[in-house]
């Protein structure tokens, strides 16, 4: 009897607490002391990033000799989970690394707008858009991330094509792919296991499919999912899959790094890769040699479009709202994006740095082509979408490849998700 009373009491108290619906306190601040700054990232633990961190630390020490900086490298696959927990509790690092786009925009509530602190860097660095929301900047770009179409010049030669002039129209591209197929290679190395293949596809080819007006509207948030050109992106994806342009088993091939391995080993002639970190010119140069690696513009699908390179700020450092002195933390961000530090990052880690004044002529023709295309480049289409829509897009892209959904249905689902969030 007594026991039962005790248990009901526990239950009542529990339910009462549950009913209250109090939640995490977003306003509390409790950062570290001003003489120590803690930085969270997933880069500083890598040996290739060590010179970059050294340069940045030295630069910061000249400005604030009395402030110590501690870098905490988190595992990337757990990074946003850990960061989410830190944000929920209102305690955590003073400065933190973010991927551009949705990952930072979803979390700007926890960040300090940096506009007043980084005004001087605005011209020198590129890629700010990916770290901005509602006209305010929340992080300074370190690298640029984008989606060039890489091609293997040796396979072009083998197929009897001119490696110096890759296709500029979609029809010519399909004809080239047929020739490459006859030479025994696949046209695209595609890894869509994580559902990321469609994101790369959309961004790399989008500028040849959407009109300039549609493109800008898309980035600005006015996305017309009923437009035939938007639908065309997904139709081409499906057609390429049905026509056997991709390696077999694309839905079970990991993009990182199985699809890149297919390209590097000469089993496929093209791959939509990255500019920084992995799956990029530096990796491919090693396997294919710099002379045999080319970067091409998106083929024109819709007449009258001007293809451009899709890129955004890749990773960047932001300042937490709970830090004691945002000015000091922002100075650290400025050191982390100084020309000297970024030069080291580009050279050792293999990245297209956000600093446009860095000379990349030593890195081979592919890197030079990419840097030359930055001027006319535009933000990537998929980066404008929410993580939720991207997740859905990954799944419907797999369904499109396996034929279990129609393009119309896929676009309808994506439109609903995009407009809901």
């Amino acid at each position: 009897m007594k026991q039962r009373a005790l248990w009901s009491a526990v239950l009542v108290v529990g339910l009462a607490t549950a009913g209250c619906g109090s939640a995490s306190d977003t306003g509390s601040s409790s950062g570290g002391s001003t003489d120590k700054l803690v930085v969270w990232d997933w880069k500083s633990g890598e040996p290739s990033a060590a010179p970059y961190i050294e340069k940045a630390k030295a630069d910061f020490a000249t400005k604030h000799p009395d402030v110590t900086v501690e870098f905490v490298a988190q595992p990337f696959d757990q990074y946003y989970t850990l960061l989410g927990a830190a944000i929920q509790s209102g305690k955590g690092p003073d400065v933190m690394l973010f991927n551009g786009g949705g990952q930072i925009r979803d979390r700007v509530d926890a960040l300090v707008p940096l506009d007043e602190y980084v005004a001087e860097d605005k011209q020198r660095l590129a890629g700010w858009d990916a770290f901005s929301k509602d006209g305010k900047v929340y992080a300074s770009p370190v690298t640029l991330q984008g989606h060039p179409i890489y091609y293997n010049k040796a396979l072009y030669e083998k197929a009897g094509l001119d490696p110096a002039s890759p296709a500029t129209t979609w029809d010519k591209f399909l004809a080239d792919c047929a020739a490459i197929g006859k030479a025994g290679a696949k046209c695209f190395a595609l890894g869509n296991k994580e559902g990321a293949g469609i994101q790369f596809w959309m961004s790399a080819l989008g500028s040849g499919i959407l009109t300039a007006q549609e493109y800008d509207d898309w980035i600005a948030g006015k996305r017309d999912w009923n437009s035939p050109n938007v639908k065309r992106i997904f139709e081409l994806w499906k057609e390429a899959g049905d026509a056997g342009l991709n390696n077999e088993g694309a839905n079970s091939t990991a993009m990182f790094n199985d699809s890149f391995a297919l390209f590097q080993s000469g089993k496929a002639a093209h791959v939509i890769g990255l500019m920084s970190d992995v799956g990029h010119w530096k990796d491919f140069n090693e396997f294919l040699t710099p002379e045999k690696l080319g970067v091409m513009n998106a083929p024109v699908v819709t007449a009258g479009t001007t293809p451009s390179l899709a890129y955004d700020g890749g990773i960047g450092y932001g300042v937490a709202k709970w830090t004691k002195d945002p000015k000091v933390a922002a100075d650290l961000v400025r050191s982390l994006t100084s020309t000297g530090a970024l030069q080291a990052f580009y050279a050792d880690a293999g990245a297209i740095a956000a600093d446009t004044t860095i000379d990349v002529s030593q890195a081979g023709p592919a890197a030079a082509t990419i840097v030359a295309a930055l001027q006319s480049g535009k933000p990537a289409l998929h980066v404008a979408l929410s993580s939720k829509t991207l997740d859905l897009m990954g799944r419907v892209s797999q369904q499109l490849l396996s034929g279990s959904i129609s393009v119309d249905e896929a676009v309808k689902q994506l439109a609903a998700s995009d407009q809901a969030g």
Binding site: G19, N247, N251, S252, S387
Partner: protein, 290 residues
């Protein structure tokens, strides 16, 4: 004397207090916090009470429904997961040729971490991997093991069973140690065939062991397949291999929806509670029959 009896009366409470406190402070209290949190919003509605909104969103989300459906599939596959180690243990007990060798080999996968097991099978089951190469050599068309939504979940469960059956096998062998060998001899003298021996002697004799293995295997399938899913399919293809655990992780870590993740956790907790209670009942009944 009175004082002594009072101390005696309180002693048990004092002695169990540390254990109870640990359970209440580190288990029940966080659980209540989590349930409480699931009634609040995410993002712009952070901190506001939103009633059952998160739960309604879960019901609406086809991905969460797939995850729950896959839990149902795991329950259906449970007999297979129990029968395999049971049968193999029977063969070892009946001393098939090479049984000493098999006994150690069968246990080997149980010491590998799910990440390593997943990586091994990723290689084996790749579209251009060795399994499909063998298929091709004998004229069977290749199967996209991890890329076909109708196949992938069964593949992952199969690999999970492969990786964990060693432990259940050991439990079965321990159970066999308590089996009365005279019964087996008697059955043989009476001319019982192997299936008859299994059906009428071994299964009834091992009912407790079978129930125990069923409970632990079910718990294992519901709580420790995350590593395999993460490495082998990432919930794909087409979201077909989602389990509630994986869904919770995606919502919290990738989608920045901690409150929605809490709601999903609460649902998973309730499922585990129901499954657990059913299994306790099952264990009791098995014990009663003995």
């Amino acid at each position: 004397m009175r004082g002594g009896s009072r101390a005696e009366r309180f002693a048990p409470y004092v002695l169990v207090a540390p254990a109870i406190l640990i359970i209440v402070v580190l288990r029940l209290y966080p659980l209540l916090l989590g349930v409480n949190f699931s009634f609040t919003g995410d993002g712009e509605r952070n901190g506001q009470t939103v009633g059952l909104d998160n739960y309604l969103e879960l019901i609406d989300d086809p991905l969460f429904r797939t995850a729950l459906g896959n839990v149902g599939l795991l329950v259906l596959l449970l007999p297979v997961a129990v029968a395999i180690p049971g049968l193999l243990a029977t063969f070892i007990y009946l001393k098939v040729p090479g049984h000493r060798f098999y006994r150690s080999v069968y246990f080997f996968p149980a010491v590998l971490s799910p990440v390593i097991v997943g990586a091994i099978f990723n290689l084996l089951l790749a579209f251009d991997g060795p399994v499909n190469a063998v298929f091709g050599a004998v004229g069977i068309s290749p199967v996209d093991w991890l890329g076909n939504p109708d196949v992938a979940m069964f593949v992952v469960v199969g690999v999970h069973i492969w990786a964990t059956f060693g432990m259940a096998l050991v439990v079965f062998l321990a159970g066999f140690a308590t089996l009365d060998a005279a019964l087996l001899d008697a059955a043989r003298v009476d001319g019982a065939s192997l299936p008859q021996v299994i059906r009428h002697v071994i299964v009834p004799g091992l009912s407790r062991t079978i129930a125990f293995v069923a409970v632990t295997t079910m718990v294992g399938m519901l709580t420790s397949m995350f590593g395999l899913l993460y490495v082998m399919t990432s919930g794909g293809p087409e979201g077909s291999t989602y389990l509630p655990e994986y869904y919770i992780w995606i919502q919290q870590g990738q989608m920045n929806r901690p409150a929605l993740a809490s709601a999903a956790s609460t649902v998973l907790f309730v499922i585990m509670l129901v499954v657990g209670l059913l299994q306790v009942k099952l264990l009791r009944r098995a014990g009663g029959e003995d």
